[in-house]
């Protein structure tokens, strides 16, 4: 009995260790601003991450042939095995009726730039220079009548382009944990 009481006292005094979860664990290394810049290829709608560089549709048309884009997407942006890049719909046809065409349906030109930069060309991803990505973006926007042929795109002008979809796309759900996926939807 006395032993038991002693054990209880030792325990109360902190003789038994408790798991400790600090507010911060102090694990991990702080990357330098240069490291972050080198890793960060997410280009958001404001374009704040865009690198220096410039390009126009004319240069883009050449690159489209040189870099092999035409091989998968077709010489004119249609007719290849890869996704269509040029709308062939008559003027006035609604964006949502024109199919899932990146330079037509994207709400921001930055999405087109981001897509080409991270994922093209097939099997040589990440090899395009910023100038080349600006030029190819300009080319895709030009062949869809979004910008004129001579417009030069750079980190200033690219985010300002008005895309054909305007704001005719769904705003995203204000998702809340542990609630139905859509209010008043029973399924």
């Amino acid at each position: 009995m006395a032993t038991l009481r002693l054990v209880a006292i030792v325990w109360l005094l902190g003789g038994v260790g408790f798991a400790q979860s600090p507010a911060r664990f102090g694990i991990g290394r702080s990357p330098t601003p240069e490291e972050i810049r080198a890793w960060d290829i997410s280009i958001g709608p404001t374009g704040e991450e865009l690198p220096p560089g410039r390009g126009s549709a004319k240069e883009g048309a050449e690159l489209y042939k040189q870099k092999g884009c035409a091989g998968c997407h077709g010489a004119t942006g249609t007719g290849g095995p890869a996704p269509v890049l040029r709308s062939t719909a008559k003027p006035g046809v609604e964006v949502w009726e024109r199919g899932r065409i990146l330079p037509v349906r994207s709400p921001f030109a930055t999405t087109v730039w981001d897509y080409i930069n991270r994922a093209m060309p097939l099997n040589r991803e990440g090899t395009l220079t910023p100038d080349e990505v600006y030029a190819l973006t300009a080319f895709l926007l030009y062949i869809n009548d979004v910008i004129p042929q001579d417009q030069v795109l750079d980190r200033e002008s690219l985010p300002k382009i008005k895309m054909p979809i305007g704001d005719a796309y769904a705003s995203l759900p204000d998702w809340k944990p542990r609630t139905r996926r859509l209010k008043d939807y029973p399924f």
């Binding site: 290394r29 890793w39 290829i41 958001g44 981001d114 991270r118 796309y169 998702w175 996926r181």
Partner: protein
Amino acid sequence: MGSRRPDRRELLKHGAALASGLTLGAVAPAAGQTPASGQAPASQPMIKGSKEMIAYGDRSRFVTSVRIPHPPGGRMSPDQFGLVFHVAAPLQDSVGVITPSSLHYVATTRGSFMPDIDPNEHRLMIHGLVDRPLTFTMDDLKRFPSVTRLHFIECAGNRATPRHRTVQETHGMTSCAEWTGVLLSTLLKECGVKSTATWFVAEGAEEVKGASSMPVAKAMDDVLVAYGMNGEPVRPQNGFPLRLVVPGFEGIFSTKYLRRIKLVDRYYLNYNDFGHLDQDPKVAALDYQIGPKSVITYPSGGQQLPGRGFYEISGLAWSGGGAVRRVEVSTDGGRRWNLAEIKGTPQRMAHTRFGYAWNWDGSETEILSRCTDELGQVQPTRAQIAKFWNVAMDASFRVPGLDNSIQPWRIARDGSVQNGYA
């Protein structure tokens, strides 16, 4: 109609036979006598031990269940260059709730070579709207408090069509594994998320650097940065050495080969987000969290019942909304619904096994299952979905969001089982 359990007396007789068999087996046979214990006679084929088998076990050569390219008749995986595309898990052969890692479904954003990542070189960077951007090695991540959770991952393309014959073809793009890793919320607290951060972008290290935007609220709730899968490191096809598991969201969000997480103040529209863009806000909402869903895996399309009599109907139920609360089975084409037995304790956003005792009388019928989750969401028929959206249920009808409609299996008088949509 309805279920019929085996007769109690039959069970008792069977039990008695078993018990006497055990007694006999416990007695060593006298020399020269045939063993009565049911031990293998010497002539039975044996598997000779090899160093390889001792080091790493194989399944029996009689077990031949495999994954198949998805959708059937679609793109081959691998193709002639070794690119991998979608492959579906053999749910018709599954037991319990865990999908073996080697049979887990695989989806790639486009045909991909599997990246061959050295875990010692792999890093995860968290940056953007945080107080302290941090880079973690794999060893760093394993120092944090870990969690182990059962979660399904399901591809948005997991959709039954009349062309699909088997449950592997209709539903094989879902799988369930035991995942081990660090909660993303633990890492985000370490970095200190700024109050202006509302979304985060997760990015993989594969060649296309696939990226998706998700609400920060999801990150703080239950997203897992996983390095373990079914008791071992995540396999290369499933994202080695590190992947996100985003419980209950469409599979594409569970970023494989995770290398970067960026906290941002708006929807970022990077890569995978473009494919998620929608015209109707209601449909857009359904493209995140998966609804309640279930399917009967036995008997299912392409299988054959040997004759009338007792069967345990078996299947899987799951929901992106939480744990499965109830599963019902109909054996008369949906006229009457009966409560199924849930095997074990349902986990949040995990496959749940159910069973239903059924005595088939040999007549033609249709069997179906439906599930209800902890939020009260109920798995619908296609007709119910069409009615809700006020659209015709014709050939062009597609279920908005991930298709969670009820799957009918038609059983013919000869015991053959077919897709009810065919």
